[in-house]
Amino acid sequence: MVNQKSIGASEAELRRGVLVLAVLSQLRSWQYGYSLRQALVDSGMPIEEGTLYPLLRRLESQGLLASEWRIEAGPPRRYYRLNAQGKHSYRELGTSWRGLVSIMDRILDAGV
C-alpha cells in the first residue's frame, strides 16, 4: 500500500516535470484555458484545472506566451499562444526532452 502510494507520488512528479512542455506544445495556435485542457486530455495528458490556469498566467509573465481577450458567441475568453520567445523556448525544451528520453531509454534498457 505504502509502496503503491510512493510510486503514485513519483509518477505525479514525473508528470509535473513535463507539464510545461506539454502545454507549450499545444499553444502553437490560439487556445483558451478550457479548450487547451480538453486538447491535453485528448492527447492522454490530463491536468487539473487548478494547476493549468495559473500555469498559463505564469508562462505569460515569463514572456513565453501572448494573450488576448475575445468575445465571440459565448462568454469572454482569454486566448493564449506562443510568442517568438515561447517558440524558441519550446524548440529548446523539445530538444532537451528528446535527448533526455534517449538517455533514459539507454539507462532503462541496460537496467532490464
Partner: protein, 278 residues
C-alpha cells in the same frame, strides 16, 4: 445559493490573495473557465449546475489559498533546510522562557534571523556557496574583537556611573539603575572573573591562530561556569535596587542563559564531530 454565487465567493477568496493589478483580469478569466468546466460537468451528469455540483468542483480545483499561490512565484520565510534548526531553537526557548512574555520576543527574534538569512541567500546566492573551511582555524581579528568587547563589558557593568559620565559629558546615571550592595560586592565580581578567563582564552587562541582540543574543552567549561554564575545571580536576591529593573534584568539573564546553553550544545557537537574525524 446558486452555483454562480458559489463560484463568485470562491473567486473572491482567490483574488484577495493576489496583487491588485492582476485581480480583475484573473477574476474574469477564472469566472469564464469555471463556468465552462461546470457546464461540461453538468452536461455529463445530465442536469444543470447547482450549488452542490459547484462546491464539489471547486473543492477539486483546490483551496483558494493554494490556487492563489500557483498564480505567483511562491517564497518561504524560513527555508525548508533551516526548519530543523528553527524548531530546535524554538523548543529550547519555549522550555526556558515558556512561562514569561519573553517567549514571544524569542520566537520573533528567531523568525527574523532565519527570514533575513533566507532572504540574503536568495538575494546573493553566489555568496552563500559552500566553501571548505578548516574547523580548527580561528579568526585572529574576531578573537581580539571579542577581547575588546569583554573589556568594555567589564567596564560598563563594573563602573556604570563612571562610563555614563564619560560618555555623556559628566551627567549622572539614574539611581533606578543602581545595583544592590550585596550583588555589587559579592556576586558581580564572579561574572568579571568568568569574562576575564574567557578573555585570556581568546588571547591565547588569537596568538596561536587556531583551536586545539584543550582550548575547546576550556571554552565549553567557561561557558558552563557562566551559566552557573548567571543562575546564581537570579536565585540569590535582588541585583538592582528598583524592583522593576531587577525583574527585567533577571529575564534578560534568562535569555543570556538560553543563548549560552545553545552555544554549549553547538560547541559540544562540533567537538564530538572533530574527535570522530580524527
Amino acid at each position: 445559493m446558486n452555483s454562480e454565487r458559489v463560484v463568485q465567493l470562491y473567486i473572491d477568496e482567490v483574488i484577495k490573495r493576489l496583487p491588485f493589478k492582476q485581480r480583475r483580469d484573473i477574476a474574469g478569466e477564472l469566472r469564464s473557465l469555471i463556468a465552462e468546466e461546470l457546464a461540461a460537468k453538468g452536461e455529463a451528469l445530465g442536469r444543470a449546475p447547482d450549488e452542490a455540483m459547484a462546491v464539489d468542483f471547486l473543492r477539486d480545483f483546490g483551496r483558494p489559498q493554494e490556487v492563489a499561490t500557483r498564480y505567483q512565484p511562491s517564497f518561504t520565510i524560513i527555508d525548508p533546510s533551516d526548519t530543523r534548526d528553527f524548531l530546535v531553537a524554538a523548543v529550547i526557548g519555549s522550555l526556558i522562557l515558556g512561562q514569561t512574555y519573553l517567549i514571544f520576543g524569542w520566537l520573533g527574534l528567531l523568525g527574523s534571523f532565519f527570514g533575513i538569512r533566507n532572504w540574503v541567500r536568495r538575494r546573493w546566492p553566489e555568496k552563500s556557496v559552500w566553501r571548505p573551511q578548516d574547523p580548527d582555524r580561528a579568526s585572529r581579528l574576531g578573537s581580539l574583537a571579542l577581547v575588546v568587547l569583554i573589556i568594555i563589558g567589564i567596564l560598563s557593568f563594573g563602573a556604570p556611573q563612571w562610563v555614563f559620565a564619560q560618555l555623556s559629558g559628566g551627567k549622572v546615571l539614574s539611581p533606578w539603575l543602581a545595583y544592590t550592595d550585596n550583588f555589587h560586592r559579592t556576586r558581580l565580581p564572579w561574572l568579571f572573573a568568568v569574562w576575564a578567563l574567557s578573555g585570556v582564552l581568546r588571547l591565547m587562541v588569537a596568538f596561536e591562530g587556531q583551536w586545539r582540543s584543550l582550548t575547546r574543552y576550556v571554552d565549553i567549561g567557561i561557558s558552563a561556569l557562566a551559566i552557573v554564575v548567571l543562575a546564581w545571580f537570579c536565585s540569590d536576591g535582588s541585583l538592582f535596587r528598583t524592583p522593576i529593573v531587577d525583574h527585567d534584568a533577571k529575564t534578560g539573564i534568562a535569555v543570556a542563559v538560553l543563548i549560552v546553553m545553545i552555544d554549549i550544545v553547538e560547541k559540544t557537537n562540533r567537538l564530538r564531530r572533530l574527535r570522530f574525524q580524527h
